[in-house]
């Protein structure tokens, strides 16, 4: 069975993603878990854990003038 069929939300592990590694989370009931590291969390916890990944991008909301 394809991984994404088990995880229709398409959530990725926030710990691995912080290392620029895509690992789609598996789900067991309400709990999502990573098969590559020790991360576990609900959907809400996982989305919360994405915030620091975006937080490092200080120009995330900025139109930058080039040239």
């Amino acid at each position: 069975m394809p991984i994404y069929a088990q995880n229709v939300l398409g959530l990725r592990c926030p710990v691995c993603l912080a290392r620029e590694i895509d690992v789609v989370l598996y789900v067991d009931g309400e709990e999502y878990y990573c098969i590559k590291c020790g991360y576990t969390g609900t959907e809400a916890e996982t989305r919360e854990a994405y915030k620091p990944i975006r937080g490092k991008f200080k120009l995330l909301r900025t139109r930058v003038k080039s040239g």
Binding site: Y4, G10, E20, V23, Y50, R54, F57, V64, S66, G67
Partner: protein, 582 residues
């Protein structure tokens, strides 16, 4: 700026391909459609494509997404990655796909594409379709990082290639041809325009002209993604340095605007961001700042305006982290060089195209899956400045006063001044100020001249010294290696030599030996594994001392240095050059 937009139909996401086409058509943007083999099995898609070419649309073939029951049944093969097949299998695939394309449309494709079309593939395709003049040939800086990031299961190694369109060489599609005779006879364009800062520091499949990739990298928030437009602007800004030329292309599979396992938000967000990129193109076009072309139109334009030997540069700024970092990229037929301003203006990546290293990929190639053009310096993969154990591949300037030596790499410089003259490009790095523990302060001004023949002249001027009579030693420092990935290769057999008052040489055996000469004119490393010689020569007379150092297995590099002791206003001038050894 010239923009190419490419779309490809795939059966399982056909409605989203149509959505992409509709966006572009509604905005009046030209697209080139690249048929995939599975799409040629679907009457509904063939009907659309016939209508498309009937309306004057341009139609090519995309050779990466091959897999479907018909493909496996007819070929007995299952891999999508066409670049990794053996030559006979490649030929069989190309004959099958081109043959069916001709049956359906009664003509040859207008263009060709793949994630990677190696020299063997392009050679076969040119034989089958001699009139085709343009192909999507490789993914700039795709390799080690993407392999890591995709579960160590994405076998596409394309590092070391040009970032912008080029004329590929007959024996290595990722190397710019040296001249017409060396050229394969096709215009190559990259698969996407990549972020010239983040594709070097990280994953090229996060940071590119691909809104889905940017979502994958989390470079958006909610339904907003200024980054997509910032990247367009960054490419647009390169016109200033390249005689008015800049190029951008977008080639997003339709699977990126529907449910996608690497996107953590609903497809509607991906669709919005993708559409906004096209709307921005239309806006720029209405301002007269952008020209949309089909691939064949671009090939014609490129041949008419960009001769093979014309160098190209990219002055890249970080547009996401806010670090103010700048990288300068230079490329011509002889070399590709990256200068990292945040490390005092040091060379962070160096490839000797003039060594003409041949390569093709596939199970019958000695390179197997590695299409990468080999490096002499790759500071990201191969250590660079020391922060754990020893330093690795990089250049710098060491400045010695008394017993103390300072490293210019510790100077964070955030700007660069670029000028073009009749000889080539001149890059002036901002002055770097160094302070020794006894209070002596010096200012170093660094200038690079990028010249034909694989030569980089480096001028280090001791512009200011806080004590008038003080003299300091400037040591040009080049730490090299060779390789394709992040892992060290076998250094045995590399020959180091010094020339000057005396001549000495040694053959690399990991024994930490040093050879040196006074009145040095040249120090060099001959790397037979990639048929390349790297030389550091003294200009404006001999240097006081030239040295070549062998490394050891915990530091598998070679180090070339040239030094002079100078007073205020004096300069150390050297030339770093690359040569083919055979």
């Amino acid at each position: 700026m010239i923009v190419n937009i490419l779309h490809r139909p795939v059966p399982e996401h056909y409605e989203f391909f149509r959505m992409q086409q509709e966006w572009a058509e509604n905005l009046g943007l030209k697209t080139t459609v690249m048929a995939t083999y599975p799409s040629l099995q679907k009457p509904e898609i063939i009907e659309y494509l016939k209508d498309w070419i009937g309306r004057g649309g341009e139609l090519g073939i995309y050779f990466t997404e091959l897999r479907c029951p018909e493909f496996m049944e007819k070929t007995g093969l299952e891999m999508d990655a066409v670049w990794l097949y053996a030559t006979d299998e490649k030929r069989r695939i190309f004959e099958l796909v081109v043959g069916e394309f001709r049956e359906h449309f009664g003509r040859d494709p207008d263009a060709l594409a793949g994630y990677h079309l190696d020299a063997v593939s392009l050679g076969i395709l040119k034989e089958l379709c001699p009139a085709v003049d343009i192909a999507v040939v490789g993914c700039f800086e795709e390799g080690v990082r993407v392999f890591h990031g995709c579960n160590h299961s994405w076998y596409l190694f394309n590092e070391g290639m040009p970032w912008n369109p080029w004329y590929p060489a007959k024996d290595n599609a990722l190397r710019p041809a040296a001249n017409e005779e060396d050229a394969l006879g096709i215009v190559a364009v990259p698969h996407l325009s990549r972020d010239m800062v983040l594709a070097y520091e990280g994953r090229d499949d996060f940071w590119a002209s691909h809104p889905g990739d940017v979502m994958r990298g989390m470079g958006y928030e909610g339904e907003e993604c200024p980054y997509n437009l910032n990247l367009v602007d960054q490419y647009l800004a390169q016109e200033k340095y390249n005689g008015g030329f800049s190029y951008y292309n977008v080639f997003v599979g339709p699977g990126w605007i529907t449910h996608n396992m690497n996107i953590d938000d609903p497809p509607e967000v991906a669709q919005k961001l993708h559409r906004e990129q096209y709307e921005y193109f239309a806006e720029l076009r209405s301002q007269g700042r952008l020209t949309d072309m089909t691939l064949t139109e671009f090939a014609k334009w490129f041949r008419e305006h960009r001769p093979i030997e014309m160098p190209e540069v990219f002055l890249a700024s970080d547009i996401l982290y806010g670090s103010k970092k700048k990288y300068f990229w230079y490329k011509d037929t002889d070399m590709r060089v990256l200068v990292d301003m945040a490390q005092g203006g040091s060379i962070g990546d160096l490839r000797a195209y003039n060594a003409r290293v041949a390569a093709f990929t596939g199970s019958d190639s000695p390179n197997l899956d590695i299409g990468i053009y080999p490096y002499l310096i790759q500071s990201q993969h191969r250590t660079g400045v020391a922060n754990h154990a020893f330093d690795g591949a990089r250049t710098t300037l060491e400045v010695t006063h008394g017993e103390e030596t300072l490293d210019l790499c510790a100077c964070r410089l955030l700007d660069a001044d670029l000028a073009q003259n009749e000889d080539g490009y001149h890059l002036q790095v901002p002055p770097a100020r160094l302070r020794f523990s006894d209070g002596l302060e010096v200012t170093i001004e660094t200038g690079y001249d990028f010249l034909p023949g694989g030569r980089v002249e480096v001028t280090r001027k001791l512009a200011e010294v806080s004590r008038k009579d003080a003299r300091v030693t400037l040591r040009e420092y080049v730490k090299g290696s060779y390789g394709w990935t992040e892992y060290p290769e076998d250094m045995h057999g590399i020959v180091l030599r010094v020339s000057g008052e005396s001549e000495e040489s040694l053959t690399y055996d990991y024994r930490t030996r040093i050879i040196r000469t006074e009145a040095a004119t040249e120090v060099a490393a001959v790397v037979p594994q990639i048929e390349t010689e790297l030389r550091l020569s003294s200009l404006d007379g001999p240097a006081d001392l030239g040295e070549a150092r062998e490394g050891h297995l915990f530091s598998p590099f070679y180090t070339l240095t040239m030094e002079k002791t100078l007073g205020a206003g004096e300069s150390l001038k050297t030339c770093l050059s690359m040569h083919r050894t055979s």
